[in-house]
Amino acid sequence: MNVIMIFYYLITAALVCLLGWNLIREKKSANDMILGLLVMIPLVLRLLRVK
């Protein structure tokens, strides 16, 4: 894996962390919770090198 690809995994991981943190802080909107989780699914699968 080259350096640039590693950067992309880092960017992806950063997005997962930000979405996760927002999800933890979310108290009001079930809608935003669902959307946050949906957006995280492909990012997590990419980090796990599944797809």
Binding site: Y8, A14, L15, N22, L35, L38, V39, I41, P42, L45
Partner: protein, 437 residues
């Protein structure tokens, strides 16, 4: 088979409608349509029930890289805005050109165009530069109603403007047509239509204030903000893009997300005040969530529509319409599809349309450009109305949504006619593609 697929289509439409009536968000309504279509399809084993989770998850991937572009680009523009760069430029435009109204309007138009052109999302234009530009337009004596209309139309054109046009990217990816040759093919119509829009809606001064009052009304610029501080991050971004183009075999492939990340890092470095990066990133992701989720659910819907044959049937219907009717129909089909499906419309309707146009001798690249300046108009139409609503919000217009939309009718019509003519005469306009290469 047609009947079965027709029933599935109705089922998906019904699920969408019920979800919308239950006041679910557009994203969840699209998700409901996808799941309903998948479950309905399972009765006919198209696809079998056991494969449904895989289809739903696989459908989340087509726009993964687009999501990374959105996220990094929006974060970059948010940093530029937070550091006072946007306010600096807007204030500069008013200071220099207040008395030369046409120039002031054109500069403000360019300011709206840049974030959308770079990110492919008109909403980023509104979110990042919308508020200060709206203030500047008001200072120029343009009522809120017209300010909202200008923001909406120009932000839509920004989304279509090169270098990043998501509709064109989706269409090119889906039809195996190179995403090249769009610079002038999109750039020239966007600039002409943008100029027409700001002049039509903004040339007449209706009240307003003098220059000193206008400047006082604009948000302050943080001390130490200078032109070079605004410029350097953009130089980094374009530098990386241009380096790749100029020395392609000596430069590694950075990709847009990394280019925007590097630009964001630079913006943070040169900013006179250091914004709280973590807070800004969290807020950016929160604001972007509906947009990112749209990319996800639209991909899922697309996957289910293809697996069930619904997409194929729609393609078939589009190809079977008599040509003249199809050309006229574009005026309605394209914006309405965007209003319902946002970018998904490009994949579901656009791909078969482009295949068909290509097969009857139209120039695919010009036709894609033509369609992709028409699509953003749909961002003002319900149920999504993403950019329309944002425009109303940032310009502080208190009237009804429809009264705002009525304000846009002349530019709307001109854009529609331009777009359809671009498709119809695409072969004759292919010189634009050659210029761009």
């Amino acid at each position: 088979m047609t009947l079965q697929i027709g029933v599935l289509l109705l089922l998906m439409v019904a699920a969408y409608a019920v979800a919308s009536l239950k006041k679910l968000s557009v994203e969840l309504s699209i998700l409901a349509a996808a799941v309903a279509g998948g479950l309905g399809g399972a009765f006919l084993k198209t696809p079998p029930l056991g494969e449904l989770p895989r289809h739903l998850v696989e459908g989340m991937f087509p726009y993964l890289d687009v999501m990374l572009v959105f996220s990094t680009a929006t974060f970059f523009m948010a940093l530029v805005s937070e550091s006072g760069g946007v306010n600096y430029v807007v204030r500069g435009a008013i200071k220099l050109f207040y008395n030369v109204r046409v120039v002031a309007l054109l500069v403000l138009m360019i300011i709206i165009l840049i974030p959308g052109a770079l990110t492919g999302a008109g909403s980023v234009s509104i979110l990042v530069v919308g508020a200060p530009v709206a203030l500047a337009l008001k200072a120029l004596g343009i009522p809120e109603r017209k300010t909202a209309a200008i923001l909406f139309i120009v932000a839509g054109l920004a989304a279509a403007a090169p270098p990043v046009n998501i509709w064109a990217m989706i269409l090119c990816a889906g039809t195996a047509i190179p995403y090249v040759g769009f610079t002038y093919t999109l750039g020239i119509p966007v600039l002409i239509l943008g100029t027409f829009t700001v002049l039509w809606l903004g040339l007449k001064k209706e009240g307003g204030m003098d220059k000193a009052a206008a400047l006082a009304a604009l948000p302050p610029v943080p001390p130490g903000m200078k032109g070079w501080r605004v410029l350097v991050p953009f130089v980094v971004f374009f530098g990386m893009v241009i380096a790749n183009r100029t020395w392609p075999f000596a430069t590694p492939i950075f990709g847009l997300p990394l280019e925007f990340s590097a630009a964001a890092f630079t913006a943070w470095l040169v900013s006179p005040r250091k914004p709280d990066v973590l807070k800004l990133a969290l807020n950016t992701m929160k604001r972007l969530l509906p947009l990112l989720a749209t990319m996800i659910v639209v991909g899922m819907l697309q996957q289910i529509m293809t697996a069930t044959g619904v997409r194929g049937m729609i393609s078939y219907a589009v190809i079977s319409i008599p040509l003249v009717l199809l050309f006229i129909g574009l005026a309605v089909i394209i914006p309405v599809s965007e209003g319902v499906l946002t970018y998904g419309a490009a994949a579901i309707l656009g791909i078969p349309l482009i295949w068909f146009f290509d097969s009857i001798g139209l120039h695919a690249t010009v036709a894609i450009a033509g369609l992709s300046i028409l699509w953003p108009l749909g961002d003002g139409l319900p149920p999504t109305a993403l950019i329309g609503r944002l425009s109303v919000m940032v310009s502080d217009y208190k009237g009804t949504y429809w009264s705002f939309l009525r304000q846009t009718w002349v530019p709307w019509l001109v854009i529609t006619i331009t777009s359809i003519l671009m498709v119809v005469y695409s072969a004759k306009l292919s010189f634009l593609v050659k210029w761009s290469m």
